[in-house]
């Protein structure tokens, strides 16, 4: 599903974000990318979205060479990748329904599809009662559920989550993880960048640890740190 082959990303003035990263992630996997701030987690995700180009090496998403993808095909790539962020990125003047529907509207989906799929997915994330609420009327955990619903509503092959629990308390974080786990069990590949060790340890999934842009550990059913 995802393949990195000797990928290096250097920012100007020789700041190395990723160095010679090679790895493969199969369909249906749940992968944690862990490591301290500045270790390259966000760069990893930005490269997958083709928001940035690698300085060297190649990477593949869903069988396509992202490095060689022409600019006009980027939207197609991103429709296969759902994204969830720490700050939710919801539109404050739109309701829960409208926020999720927005993701389908702007890729030209028809109204009857939107009207069918959006309530379904909002139900799935457990917000069926709050369809017409504005984001400011929701708790942080509920807002993150909306953002997950938006990322997932177009049934992407891969869900990218960049510190999705970073702004949430531990109890809420557990709820979000349950939701991501459910999405993973439906068959979606989930890649989650985090430095929340409690979550990583509890989930016992594959862990890729980055430090200074290098993969220093790739462990199936791993924990956050050796013996930590």
């Amino acid at each position: 599903m995802i393949k990195f082959q000797n990928v290096t990303k250097t920012y100007k003035e020789s700041v190395v974000a990723l160095e010679d990263v090679s790895l493969e992630i199969s369909k249906g996997e749940f992968v944690f990318i862990v490591g301290p701030s500045g270790s390259g987690k966000s760069t990893f995700i930005r490269l997958l979205l083709k928001e940035e180009e690698p300085t060297a090496g190649s990477l593949w998403v869903a069988g396509k060479n992202v490095t060689r993808l022409s600019r006009w095909k980027i939207p197609e790539l991103r429709r296969n990748l759902g994204t969830v962020f720490q700050d939710f990125k919801l539109l404050p003047n739109k309701t829960v329904f409208q926020n999720v529907a927005f993701a389908l509207e702007v890729i030209g989906k028809q109204k009857h599809i939107i009207d069918q799929r959006v309530p379904e997915i909002i139900e799935l994330v457990g917000l069926g009662e709050k369809l017409n609420n504005l984001p400011e009327e929701l708790s942080g955990g509920e807002q993150q559920r909306v953002s997950i619903a938006r990322a997932f509503v177009n049934r992407p092959l891969i869900l990218l989550a960049d510190e999705p629990t970073g702004n949430l308390d531990p109890a809420t974080s557990v709820e979000i993880m349950k939701l991501l786990d459910r999405i993973n069990r439906i068959g979606t590949t989930v890649i989650m960048a985090t430095h929340d060790n409690a979550i990583v340890d509890a989930m016992r999934r594959r862990v890729i640890e980055l430090d200074d842009g290098r993969v220093i550990r790739d462990q199936s059913r791993g924990v956050y740190g050796y013996g930590a």
């Binding site: 979205l49 600019r71 006009w72 980027i74 939207p75 197609e76 790539l77 991103r78 429709r79 994204t83 990125k89 539109l91 927005f102 993701a103 509207e105 702007v106 890729i107 030209g108 028809q110 109204k111 938006r150 990322a151 177009n154």
Partner: protein, 292 residues
Amino acid sequence: MARRLDYYFHETATGLRRNALVAFAAITTVFISLFLLGGAQLIGRQINLIIDQQTERVEVSVYLVDNISKSDFTRLNQMLHSMPQVESIRYETKQEAYQRFKELFKNQPDLVNNVSPNALPASFRVKLKNSEQFGVIKAQLEGQPGIDTIKDQSEILNRLFAVSRALRYGAYGVSAIMILSAIGLIANTVRMGIFARRKEIGIMRLVGATNWFIRVPFLIEALFEGVLGALLAIGGLYILKNIFFNQFLPAISFLPVVTTQDLLALVPVILLGGVVVALVASWLAMRRFLEV
């Protein structure tokens, strides 16, 4: 498709409302610049009409000495006929000149009575194919025996040409500056719209909206401003033609006036101007702010 159109129009309307003041300034500037452009065209056309009409009447008068010899007369006559710049020649006798003089000043009988039929010179009235070639004719005829003086009315025309040119270039210049400001203002409304919607745009990119989908509402907004300005300019020119040219000009003289056809010929040019201004402006604004 219907839904998409609905989305575009909704977004455009929101954008225009959000930037109402800048949008108004942009539309006004497009209006003024295209109005000046079209006005310059109309004025140019009007002056050309007057020049054409006057050129019809312009002739070079070659006044002959009273005691011209028959051979000089014949030679001059042949010389004029052989000149390629000459269109036609008419000989006016002393008698005919006197008749014309009497006609011209019939309101002042004293003046007419004081001039004897013999006092006015006979002349060749020469019509030129191109009135600007007066200099060539004059140079060839000057000093020939039998000629008293050579006169021509092209001086007046030259002044008219100069005024026309100055007016038109002035209007073009102002219009060019206004067009540049119109482009700047429309680019600014687009830029402000992009800024106001940067969060939406960020999400649109993330979920895989195409570049064109993101751009179209801004493009429509710019086109709306450009075309509305152009339509106002056309309306303004229509009023200018009907009030100024049609009412005012005929009142001062029997001059030919620009026609509705002349105005209609400008309509596509002005509309195209509005569209081009809008396209250039949105291209400038989006080039920097709407890359993936």
